[in-house]
Structures are given as structure tokens and as C-alpha cells.
């Protein structure tokens, strides 16, 4: 994987996943290392982000490297009409690796074709967000001790959530059972379901989250956004049914953990945060170790 760009979770083999997760485990033991001394990492965020950008920058800083970049395209020459190609070619001159988030789908793949340094995709529109997927895998393996033969519930917006799509595709490598809970208008797209069917794995669809809570090992929550509904009445009907609260978690398996890619708005009640099942902030911390591992492996250090 040295010098290769990381664009889509589909580009990775099972062995590639494991080498990232194993390296991340070592960074969790020892996150402060000077291995990026003398390296410059560019973070180009054409679209805002809190966790992804800060955890990448934090990862570089803890490893002794320097960060350049922008967190908003309006502070860059993009505002003057510069093409993505020109921005990438310019920044390649000043850095050893580029982390980028861009609102257009396919932008990261295109950047990797023109760039002379590796590109790490930190989200290209609704398409891919592979580092989030790897930190989700890390969090699942860490809390369950394995990735194989698990029961995973995906709850909320399964249609537009790119983190859901990537994680479902990645988990089809591990013989999991999928419990898909969403309003009918936000079901998992057939292009993603295709991956489950190709491997002949079991999947079940529900509209009521309470049906799955006692069956599963992982609950992956997502936010349902008002703007996804053409009819506001439809949104009002579903919004309260997809809020995770203490009573929904009263009879879970003891090993159950709740994951969420964050930001959360109101889909998990605040008093769930103190329950042993809540894992989403730890999950965001794992993002630091996983991103350290990705930088190390791609730079061949």
C-alpha cells in the first residue's frame, strides 16, 4: 500500500484492512512518535468538517509532522475559479501527502490521477469516506474482539449515509448478518444491497428500531435529515421513532455497543452517553489512531 492513494473502501483487500487495524492498535499504545519528522501533510477541505480534519491534523502533529492546507474553499484560489487539477498539482509541490474532502463525487479518484503524491480521500460528496470506514472497523473489532459472524444493525438514513454504504460493503467480507432499520423512503440502495446478495449473506429489513435492539452486537446509528424528505409530514412521522433512548437499550446483549459517525443532533438522547453501550466518542478517538496508521503505511515509514 506504500505510495498508493486511499480513495475507496472497495480498493482494499481484507489483508489491507487488517494491516491498518494492526498498526492502529500499536498507535493506541503509543500515539506520540516522531516518525513524520520533516514531512509535510496537506489537508485540503473544500467542504467543512470537524472530526475528520482535526483528527488528521492531530495525527500528524502527534507524529512530529507539519500540516498545511485550508478548511474552507473560500479561503483558497478555488474562489478565483481555479480548477481542482491545478490546485492539486500546486499543492503536490509543497507536500508529501494530500488529505482532501470535496463536495463532488469522484473528485478524490480524479485528484489521485493527476497528483504526484498519494491522496487520502476524506470524503467525496455522497460517495466514499474510507478512513471513517476503517475507524468503524477498528471500533467493531476492538469492542467485539472480532469482525466475523456479528449481527449488526444499521439505523436511520441508510439511503444517503455514505458511512453506512462503505461499512456495509466492508462488513460483507466478514460473514455478518445485517439488520437494516429505516423509514421506507430511506432504505439501503440496491447498489449496496447487491454486495450482500453477491455473498449470500443474511439481511433483514425493519421500520421499527425496537425490533432489533436485543438481537444485535453493534448498533450503527445515523442522523435522519429533514431535507431528505420531500413531504415534511413524512419527516414528522418518523423523526421520533428513530431516536435512541435509555429504554430502547434496556434489554440488550451485554456486549452491545452503539456507534455513530457523528455529528449527532438529536438521534441519540444525551442521557444515553453515560450507558456502557455508548461508544461513539471513543469511536471518534479511535479515528486518531487509525489515521496515524494510514499515514504511516502510505508513506512507507
Amino acid at each position: 500500500m506504500k505510495n498508493r492513494s486511499l480513495i475507496s473502501i472497495d480498493d482494499f483487500t481484507k489483508e489491507n484492512y487488517f494491516s491498518v487495524l494492526d498498526a492502529a492498535e500499536k498507535f493506541e499504545q503509543n500515539p506520540v512518535q516522531n516518525i513524520l519528522d520533516g514531512k509535510v501533510i496537506a489537508t485540503l477541505f473544500f467542504e467543512p468538517s470537524t472530526r475528520t480534519r482535526l483528527s488528521f491534523e492531530s495525527a500528524v502533529n502527534y507524529l512530529g509532522g507539519k500540516v498545511i492546507g485550508f478548511s474552507d474553499a473560500s479561503n483558497s484560489s478555488v474562489k478565483k475559479g481555479e480548477s481542482l487539477k491545478d490546485t492539486i498539482l500546486t499543492v503536490c509541490n509543497y507536500s508529501d501527502l494530500i488529505v482532501m474532502r470535496h463536495p463532488k463525487e469522484g473528485s478524490a479518484r480524479y485528484a489521485s490521477e493527476v497528483a504526484t503524491v498519494p491522496i487520502v480521500n476524506a470524503g467525496d460528496g455522497a460517495n466514499q469516506h474510507p478512513t471513517q470506514c476503517l475507524l468503524d472497523l477498528y471500533s467493531i473489532r476492538k469492542t467485539q474482539g472480532k469482525l466475523e459472524n456479528l449481527d449488526i444493525a444499521f439505523v436511520g438514513d441508510l439511503k444517503y449515509g455514505r458511512t453506512v454504504h462503505s461499512l456495509v460493503i466492508a462488513m460483507t467480507n466478514f460473514n455478518c448478518r445485517f439488520h437494516l432499520v429505516s423509514p421506507p423512503e430511506l432504505k439501503l440502495p440496491s447498489s449496496v444491497k447487491m454486495y450482500i446478495k453477491e455473498k449470500n449473506l443474511e439481511y433483514y429489513q425493519y421500520t421499527d428500531p425496537s425490533e432489533v435492539m436485543d438481537k444485535v452486537d453493534i448498533v450503527y446509528m445515523t442522523r435522519i435529515q429533514r431535507e431528505r424528505f420531500s413531504d415534511p409530514i413524512d419527516y414528522e412521522k418518523v423523526k421520533n421513532a428513530y431516536i435512541l433512548n435509555r429504554s430502547l437499550l434496556a434489554n440488550t446483549k451485554p456486549n452491545l455497543k452503539v456507534l455513530h459517525p457523528l455529528p449527532r443532533v438529536n438521534e441519540i438522547d444525551l442521557d444515553v452517553d453515560d450507558m456502557p453501550q455508548a461508544y461513539y466518542f471513543q469511536q471518534a478517538l479511535n479515528g486518531l489512531y487509525v489515521r496515524q496508521a494510514i499515514l504511516k503505511i502510505i508513506l512507507g515509514l
Binding site: S8, S83, L84, K85, E105, S107, R109, Y110
Partner: protein, 156 residues
């Protein structure tokens, strides 16, 4: 002694002296083929027919273009919208070559990605697709990973 002439099958669409015949076109695709090959703006003599009887397919369409031999990229376009088509090269009223069109494994430059938010529809990027289903002409964009199907396919 004069040789006895064989009865000639009557042609619904007249024969051409030189050029290419595109036969076995699905009837609903005839006008799309004309359009993507830009034949509606061509100066060549063109004859076409649709809803003709076909022993193989029930109904078919046919297009005959005089003095025109298609380039590989044009043949790829035909294959995408009319996968059952046969190309017949005619010289001096004789069939020189007959071949089935074939969809290649990758399609570059001439199909537009169906996804309005794809980078190829916003920057000066040539499109590239992996053909994931040859009979249904399903193309997966190598950039945004969305699938463009025959029914919503448009050409650059």
C-alpha cells in the same frame, strides 16, 4: 447458355452500392443510433426502416449508410445502444464483411455520467466507465462509482 437467375428476396429497404448496413437494431433504438452517430447531420445517402419482420428477433430496425465505414469508437457507441446489431460492410453491392457489434470492457470519453454531482460533469475530466453488465449496458463510473444505464444514457 444463359444462367437461370435465382429469385431475389425483395428488400423492404433498398440495397446500397457501397457503405455500411447496421442490421438487427432493436426497434426502439433505431432513432437513438441515428442520433448518436450524428447521422441526422450527415450528407451521405441514408436509408432506414423500423418495425421490420425479423426471423431472429420478431421485429427489428435497419440503417443503411452509403459511402461510410464506421470507426471503432462509433462501433462502440452502436454496441451500447443496440447490443444485438450486426454490421455489414458493402462494396459494389457485395457483402465484404459481416460482424456482430461488441461492447468493450471499458468505455471512455463519449458517455456522460448520469450523476449530476459527479466531478466529470463539473471539471474538464474525460469520463471513464467499467462495463459491469454487457447485455443491459450498465456502466459504472470509475470516479463517482454511480451506475449509468441504457435508459438514461446520454452522449458527449
Amino acid at each position: 447458355m444463359e444462367q437461370e437467375k435465382k429469385p431475389i428476396k425483395e428488400l423492404v429497404v433498398s440495397a446500397i452500392e457501397n457503405g455500411t448496413v447496421i442490421d438487427h437494431i432493436p426497434t426502439q433504438s433505431v432513432f437513438q443510433v441515428i442520433h448518436i452517430l450524428n447521422l441526422d447531420h450527415s450528407d451521405n445517402q441514408i436509408l432506414f426502416g423500423t418495425n421490420l419482420d425479423s426471423s431472429k428477433y420478431g421485429k427489428k430496425g435497419i440503417i443503411k449508410v452509403s459511402n461510410k465505414y464506421f470507426k471503432p469508437i462509433e462501433i462502440n457507441k452502436i454496441a451500447l445502444v443496440a447490443p444485438t446489431a450486426t454490421l455489414i460492410i458493402i462494396k459494389d453491392f457485395l457483402v465484404i464483411e459481416k460482424k456482430k457489434v461488441e461492447i468493450p470492457d471499458t468505455i471512455e470519453t463519449f458517455v456522460k455520467c448520469v450523476n449530476p454531482n459527479c466531478i466529470t460533469n463539473h471539471e474538464d475530466v474525460l469520463t471513464k466507465f467499467k462495463v459491469i453488465d454487457k447485455t443491459e449496458s450498465k456502466l459504472k463510473c470509475i470516479y463517482c462509482e454511480k451506475i449509468t444505464e441504457k435508459k438514461n444514457m446520454t452522449f458527449k
